[in-house]
Symmetry: C2
Subunit: 190 residues, 2 copies
């Protein structure tokens, strides 16, 4: 059986360098709070208020900065603050939702970049070969936590890179729907 | 294929007659807002504030009154207001979560009764025979909405009664995890 560790991503955002400086001031650098499982990625102590038509949520910024700003939230979150959040792969933000970002030093009107992340597996080339999967392949992942909500996630996209650690990422709605608390393993089904 | 209509239940509560009167005053009757798919069940216009350790949420009361008060919310809701909500079938509330209920005329400290509903299918005896399922059987339900989050829900409990309409009920986390918006059909898998 091809087993993968599943991690749950709470709502968060990635900022472009330009937006980071508008929100926090010129030359601002994010403060690392915790290294994440994907090499080089980290949660920062810095937060931004993400404002929709019906409300707002404070969200942590993940670093380092990226080419484009991207807000990732659950569909529950999106509904609660009144933003549109299509299910998309990270980086595929054309035509996605809009919002306002409010930081300590300034604001950004984001015309697109709000998404609900498509569930995905980051995988190393070595593990991909062992699992028999390739980049962009769609697989299913079975999760049986024994908490009364066994689940098989379909539409899981595989992303292969030597810069990855092998992990599946889901959002909080998906974790709750499968009654996943903490880190669990799923079985990849081709 | 055995197809079932899937309905999403937002957070709500059922009240005992005693608690209804504490919260709203002696002799109070719920006001029907909308008949639900299950015969005799209705959403009322009346709301109660459900208070946990970290926050509170206003929830609609479903009628008619029941033998025991029961709060049904998603695990996202439970986390946001700080209540414990084990995954349970309706009515199976021994040892479940506690909260405070605040109404216009009084308050109730609920020592148990807070649950995340176990996903389930209400089914008529005729449909159960046609589907080949029996009361309390655990089945799976496959949902492919084409929204990028195809899903197979395991651990779906079947409940057979002549007083039911045939419908599957899930909560908002489960609907969001499968990107279900509005009413969709699922395929029951034995």
């Amino acid at each position: 059986m091809n087993k993968v560790i599943i991690e749950t991503s709470a709502r968060h955002l990635h900022l472009s360098k330009e937006h980071l400086e508008v929100l926090f001031g010129a030359g601002y650098e994010l403060t690392v709070k915790k290294e994440l499982s994907q090499p080089g990625q980290y949660a920062s102590t810095d937060k931004v208020e993400v404002v929709g038509e019906k409300g707002s949520l404070k969200m942590s910024i993940l670093g380092p900065t990226r080419k484009e700003t991207q807000v990732e939230l659950s569909l529950t979150d999106a509904r609660s603050i009144g933003v549109k959040a299509p299910v998309r792969e990270s980086g595929d933000i054309a035509g996605t939702g809009s919002c306002k970002l409010v930081g300590p030093k300034g604001e950004v009107v984001l015309t697109e970049g709000v998404i609900a992340a498509k569930r995905h597996i980051h995988i190393t080339p070595e593990d991909a070969a062992a699992f028999g999967v390739s980049d962009k392949q769609i697989v299913s992942v079975q999760v049986n936590c024994g908490n009364g909500r066994d689940m098989t996630f379909g539409d899981v996209v595989v992303r292969v890179s030597a810069s990855y650690a092998t992990r599946m990422h889901i959002d909080t709605d998906e974790a709750n729907a499968a009654s996943i608390a903490g880190e669990v393993e799923g079985v990849v089904i081709l």
